[in-house]
């Protein structure tokens, strides 16, 4: 029984001191640009094909789901959240992965990660990371083929359209530094090249710097939370420092971790997704730090090349519990 005798709220004359959700989402995509630029410069413009495929799939899936539910589709499509999900996925899959990889991943992300829970604001997990991890555990080979070097145009299209089964570019399958790190640790080898400089050999360093730049811009404009990236990067650096200090030969320096893999993309664009993150101020500190620790643990000892997606999902599922136990002391209450 809800009393309906309250006068309706008046939003027409009220103050607005805020950036609307839509603008936030558009700004997030804009902030991604520096990183995308670096990615294009380093690996060719093919990443844009992946982003485009993801965007089309995401919008179609979102619209279909909303229409099936009998909800107005247009406002939800316009809020830009599906686009952000699509871009994050497009940037995470290898740029020459066959088309069905990104399509399938986006479908998982939008439908299973988001719409099943009721759409924007209701999803407990970051949709893009749901899609990404499902892809990663289902198609590990396609999801770890990061091509290096120049690839002829026809080879690119054959790879994307026909899939990697029929054709593999020659220049693929060079191990990423993160792969090398893990293999090295298990082989008990020393890692002469595992320092921050090695990140720039394959371009990961530039890409990470690109995302760092865009992310800082977001944080400065207060469109992304600052606590999560700070505690995430802080925890990652701290862990890396401790282990590097203990055994520099086997554990690379913090710079290596900060500049490799999806560290920065995760810090500023994935972990900061407010819907699936912890929502209390203290909770966000813990949330970010948790991701940092898990990224380090999974990268160093785990079975997957990068831990960002898993770390984010693992902290996503802890977020409600974190919120529950980190509620701030309300005014006039003694704890």
């Amino acid at each position: 029984m809800t009393p309906d005798f309250l006068p309706p709220p008046d939003s027409s004359s009220r103050l607005m001191l805020t950036t609307p959700t839509k603008t936030v989402m558009v700004s997030v995509i804009m902030a991604l640009m520096t990183g995308i630029m670096a990615q294009i410069w380093h690996g060719g413009p093919w990443v844009l094909i992946q982003c485009g495929l993801a965007a089309i799939t995401a919008l179609t899936a979102e619209a279909t789901a909303l229409i099936l539910r009998g909800r107005p589709a247009l406002p939800a499509l316009m809020d830009g959240s599906a686009m952000v999900t699509a871009f994050l996925l497009g940037l995470s899959v290898p740029c020459l992965a066959p088309w069905w990889i990104i399509t399938l991943g986006t479908l998982f992300a939008i439908l299973l990660g988001k719409q099943v829970y009721g759409g924007l604001g209701h999803n407990p997990f970051n949709p893009a990371m749901v899609g990404y991890t499902i892809l990663l555990i289902s198609f590990p080979r396609q999801m770890t083929d990061w091509p290096v070097g120049h690839i002829p145009l026809d080879a690119v299209f054959r790879a994307i359209l026909q899939g990697g089964e029929n054709f593999r570019p020659d220049a693929v399958a060079m191990a990423t530094p993160l792969d090398a790190l893990r293999t090295g640790i298990f082989m008990r080898q020393t890692l002469p090249e595992a320092s921050w400089t090695s990140a720039f050999v394959q371009g990961d360093g530039w890409i990470n710097l690109g995302y760092l730049l865009g992310g800082l811009w977001l944080v400065k404009r207060k469109l992304a939370d600052w606590r999560i990236p700070l505690s995430y990067l802080g925890a990652l650096t701290g862990f890396a420092l401790i282990f590097h200090w203990a055994d520099a030969a086997r554990y690379p320096d913090p710079g290596f971790h900060l500049l490799n893999g999806a560290t920065m993309l995760g810090a500023f664009f994935i972990a900061t997704d407010p819907v699936s993150a912890a929502t209390t101020p203290r909770g966000r500190w813990i949330y970010g730090a948790g991701i940092g620790v898990l990224v380090y643990v999974i990268r160093t000892w785990g079975g997957y090349p990068d831990g960002v997606a898993f770390a984010v999902l693992l902290m996503n599922l802890s977020a409600p519990t974190l919120d529950h136990f980190t509620r701030p002391r309300a005014y006039g209450h003694s704890r």
Binding site: M1, P3, F5, L6
Partner: protein, 172 residues
């Protein structure tokens, strides 16, 4: 053979230990019916099939009755019960009735013949009257259970919606 013998002995001693501990840890009283009762609307209407809210609460506590049998409490009451008992929330079973806005009984005095039949029907003694005298319902005591309606031979009792608007001025 030996194994089975030893094990049987062992199990027997387990049983004996459990018996001892159950005596030691016996529970007196059960606060659960009280907690359930506290969530029920106390209309005492009997729509749940039990003679009052308390018996229904006891039935729920014993596991005999489901939590969706209280139409006056409505879905909110079912949800509260589900929360207390950790069960799945559902809506009120329509077999027991439907939720209505709160109401109180009102006796149309010109039609009342003073038969006093409604007096014992009222579960909260909210009807004032005596044989051959006019009856009236004390509105502040009436729970709106409607049990007096069938008792009245001349149908002089009507249910009037209760203006239960919460006082908004108290909120701020």
């Amino acid at each position: 053979m030996l194994a089975i013998l030893v094990l049987s002995l062992l199990f027997a001693s387990f049983g004996w230990l459990l018996g001892l501990s159950s005596k030691h840890l016996a529970v007196q009283g059960d606060p659960l019916p009280n907690k359930i009762d506290a969530l029920l609307p106390q209309t005492q209407c009997g729509q749940c099939g039990y003679p009052g809210c308390r018996p229904y609460a006891e039935a729920i506590a014993r596991g005999e009755a489901d939590i969706d049998q209280c139409p006056p409490g409505g879905d909110a009451c079912v949800q509260a019960l589900a929360e207390l008992l950790g069960r799945e929330a559902k809506s009120v079973n329509p077999a027991f009735g439907t939720e209505k806005p709160p109401a109180v009984a009102f006796i149309d005095e010109p039609r009342c013949i003073g038969c006093a039949l409604c007096l014992p029907a009222c579960p909260v003694d909210a009807i004032l009257g005596a044989p051959k005298f006019m009856h009236t319902v004390i509105a502040s005591e009436c729970t709106g259970c409607e049990l007096c309606l069938p008792a009245c031979p001349v149908d002089c009792i009507d249910m009037k919606p209760l203006a239960a608007q919460p006082d908004p001025w108290r909120a701020s």
